[in-house]
């Protein structure tokens, strides 16, 4: 703001300044102008940048970046600590402080902390770029992401961070739900791995396993949480269904969407799926599997390492990971469970935040930590170190499952819509409403609220 020489001259003498007659503007005008200027400055500060990159020079002064991650699936806290240590070694003036929260708290923590600028780097989920991008919670880092060789990233991975042709994050965790089954239980029931190639084959196999004495051969993570949407998405894809059509209208209440929910309900009604499914999350499913209580289930990559660890599992050495069963259409897509890393709009050190993101998502770093989370880079799947760490079984199935993934709706109000769908799916599974009525209700809500 340009200084007024007259006003500057007056300010030297308090007595004269109080003399209204000698002021170039009245006190009220001065207060109004000051308030307006303050408000303008405040709004400008809050307005957010439309910049689509953070490639300003890195500070040479000591800098601390604060990051928000989760302590659940994907990379372990030890893995993250290892990556962080390596980064700090390379960038000696940057200190990294990571805060880890459960997945269920991640979204709300990001939202609540956004105005304060508490965090620089945020771990997101593939369902949030639309919401966070459209509401300005995270930065548009399109230029940064495009500065990398994006063509070498798995297509299913790169799409997780994109909304309306802009990147609001850099892919980091690449995951999908695989089929896991207990080899010993299957053998005892006369079931082979090929029985799990199709949904019909899987149902026949589960019935055989049940007859062999396993009370509930299947368990789903169908609690009122995002987990149930992921399992539903997997079956919806297998039945060739869609969440939304090309115009953005909800269509999961037709065709494959209805068949998918009917299939889940059939598993419960026929006693194939454990009734506890409707109060179980992925960790409960893993626990059930490692305790030898169920023969098969869908879960993220992390189940494989835990289930084969004798110190954590009673079924170590009996766990098989496989491509998910195909539906009548022959399709068997996985649910995209990728998680991008994002930069908060109110980040204090966006350049250093991007340096950190670039570092932890690089092929060199990701290849070192491939045991529980596979890299986003397609070439890594031929890297002997990755194959050795992750295991040939996982890498082989990932090569076919990861390129074919179904993405949950990318809409700004996904959370509200997802909550409604979770409740309606549970209403159908618990027999409180018909499958069709439940999905119709959720679809109506989607159409009214998804982009509202």
């Amino acid at each position: 703001m340009r200084e007024d020489p007259d006003l500057r001259g007056e300010s030297g003498d308090a007595g004269e300044a109080r003399d209204k007659a000698k002021l170039p503007i009245s006190r009220r005008e001065f207060v109004s102008v000051s308030a307006a200027a303050g408000a303008a400055f405040y709004l400008a500060a809050c307005g957010g940048s439309s910049s689509s990159n953070t490639t300003t020079a890195l500070s040479k002064e000591p800098v601390t970046i604060n990051n928000l991650f989760m302590q659940q699936a994907g990379y372990s806290p030890q893995d993250l600590a290892g990556m962080t240590k390596a980064f700090e070694k390379q960038y000696s003036n940057i200190t990294v402080k990571n805060t880890l929260v459960p997945y269920d708290a991640l979204h709300d923590k990001i939202v609540a902390s956004a105005p304060a600028g508490t965090y620089d780097v945020l771990l997101g989920d593939c369902i949030w770029p639309a919401e966070f991008g459209s509401k300005g919670i995270v930065q548009d880092i399109t230029n940064d992401v495009n500065s990398l060789d994006v063509s070498k990233i798995f297509p299913g991975a790169i799409v997780m961070a994109k909304y309306q042709d802009k990147y609001y994050g850099q892919p980091w965790i690449l995951d999908t739900k695989y089929l896991y089954y207990n080899q010993q239980m299957c053998s005892q029931a006369g079931v082979s791995g090929s029985d799990f190639k199709t949904l019909d084959g899987m149902v026949a196999a589960l019935k055989k396993i049940k007859q062999s004495g396993v009370q509930y051969p299947w368990i789903g993570s169908w609690a009122q949480a995002e987990a149930v949407i992921c399992d539903y998405a997997q079956f919806l894809g297998a039945y060739d269904g869609q969440f939304l059509d090309s115009s953005g209208k909800a269509v999961f209440n037709t065709g494959g969407g209805v068949k998918a929910l009917e299939f889940m309900k059939m598993l419960l009604d026929d006693g194939l799926a454990n009734p506890a499914s409707t109060s179980s999350l992925e960790d409960d499913v893993l626990k059930s599997f490692t305790e030898g209580q169920n023969a098969a289930n869908l879960n993220w990559t992390f189940q494989l390492a835990t289930a084969n660890d004798p110190s954590q599992s009673k079924v170590a050495g009996q766990t098989v990971i496989a491509h998910t069963p195909a539906g009548p259409s022959g399709k068997a897509p996985g649910c995209n469970g990728g998680q991008p890393v994002m930069i908060s709009r109110t980040a204090n050190h966006p350049a250093e935040a991007w340096a950190f993101i670039k570092f932890i998502s690089s092929a060199a770093v990701q290849n070192q930590y491939a045991t529980v989370s596979l890299p986003i880079w397609a070439a890594s799947y031929s890297d002997p170190r990755v194959i050795k760490q992750a295991g040939k079984d996982l890498v082989d199935v990932a090569k076919t499952q990861l390129p074919d993934m179904i993405l949950r709706p990318q809409v700004p109000n996904y959370n509200a819509c997802s909550t409604k769908l979770q409740v309606e799916i549970q209403n159908a599974l618990l027999g409180k409403s018909s499958v069709q009525d439940a999905l119709n209700s959720a679809a109506d809500f989607f159409d009214s609220n998804a982009n509202a």
Partner: protein
């Protein structure tokens, strides 16, 4: 102060003394105000400002966590909430939770308080044991009961199966009705201790002479309880009811940890609904209106109880 003024102007005219006294008094008031400023700032910052800000937010369509210009919608957020069946379902569920949990806590707490007041040998030990559940953080309590009720590896299923009460494991938290009562049970388990100790404090104020006189008159223990204990304990009971009702109506954390409102919203309380709308769905204006509606409900409870306390005071001649 007056003494100091007189010392400053010994034998002076009355007007001068008064003026000096007034100045000293003013200085004292200024100093007191200065000392109060930090606490006023803190109270304003963490109590008054958020209350006013929430009220302000409730009249706007705020759908982002950032400050800025949002459309003024007047009472739309309130009318939207009052016309939303999900809100009323949550209110009914919360009211049920409040009545049942507070009622059970009162009855059980009174029984425990009477036991703790009895001249037992190891009374200190019983008191220590009783206070334990209340000493647990609610989050820990919720996680504890979530594991106990877990269908796969919960203790409850293990015990019931081993003693032959059931043939196979039961998915307790699958039923909306059972899940709600499981949450109530967990809440009662934790908060009965608090109620018991509040009532125990009330019991210790009842004069022993009343019981001795009743005994001399041949009054049975049951009648002594009805005619002496309960009436004398009424003020403490009212306090317990006020505290627990308000707390129970705001129930959030134990449900968040145990069921997250499921299955199919069967345990969703009005506070959890408000939280989900505000933070998960980023409907901050709507969430603020919901928060104020909760305040209205709680204020209604508080007014009823305060009237009860007032009538009690009148009856006692206080």
């Amino acid at each position: 102060m007056a003494g100091r003024a007189e010392t400053a102007a010994p034998g002076g005219p009355v007007g001068t003394r008064r003026r000096l006294a007034w100045r000293a008094r003013t200085r004292e008031l200024r100093f007191a105000a200065l000392l109060l400023i930090p606490s006023i700032i803190v109270v304003f910052g963490i109590v008054i400002y958020p209350i006013l800000r929430t009220l302000y937010t409730s009249f706007y369509d705020v759908n982002s966590p950032f400050p800025g210009s949002y459309p003024f919608v007047g009472f739309d957020n309130y009318t939207q909430a009052l016309g939303n069946p999900d809100f009323w379902s949550a209110v009914r569920r919360t009211a049920y939770f409040t009545v049942v949990s507070t009622g059970l806590e009162l009855v059980l707490g009174l029984g425990i308080a009477l036991l703790l007041a009895a001249p037992l040998k190891a009374r200190w030990l019983f008191r220590s044991i009783v206070v334990l559940p209340w000493a647990l953080p609610t989050i820990v309590n919720g996680a504890l009961w979530r594991y106990i009720f877990n269908a796969q590896y919960g203790v409850l299923n293990a015990i019931f199966t081993q003693i032959g009460l059931q043939n196979h494991y039961h998915a307790w938290l699958n039923s909306q009705t059972f899940a709600l009562h499981a949450v109530i049970f967990a809440d009662v388990w934790k908060n009965t201790s608090l109620v018991a100790f509040l009532l125990l404090a009330g019991l210790t104020t009842i004069p022993r002479e009343l019981y001795e006189a009743a005994k001399v008159d041949g009054v049975s223990a049951w009648h002594a309880f009805l005619r002496i204990t309960l009436p004398m304990l009424k003020p403490a009971i009212v306090v317990v009811l006020v505290l627990r009702t308000i707390e129970a109506f705001k129930v959030f954390d134990i449900i968040y940890v145990m069921t997250r409102g499921g299955p199919a919203n069967g345990t969703q309380s009005v506070a959890l609904y408000t939280y989900q709308q505000a933070f998960s769905n980023e409907l901050f204006g709507y969430g603020a209106a919901l928060a104020y509606l909760i305040v209205v409900f709680i204020a209604a409870f508080a007014i009823v109880y305060m009237r009860a306390i007032r009538s009690e005071d009148t009856a006692m001649g206080w």
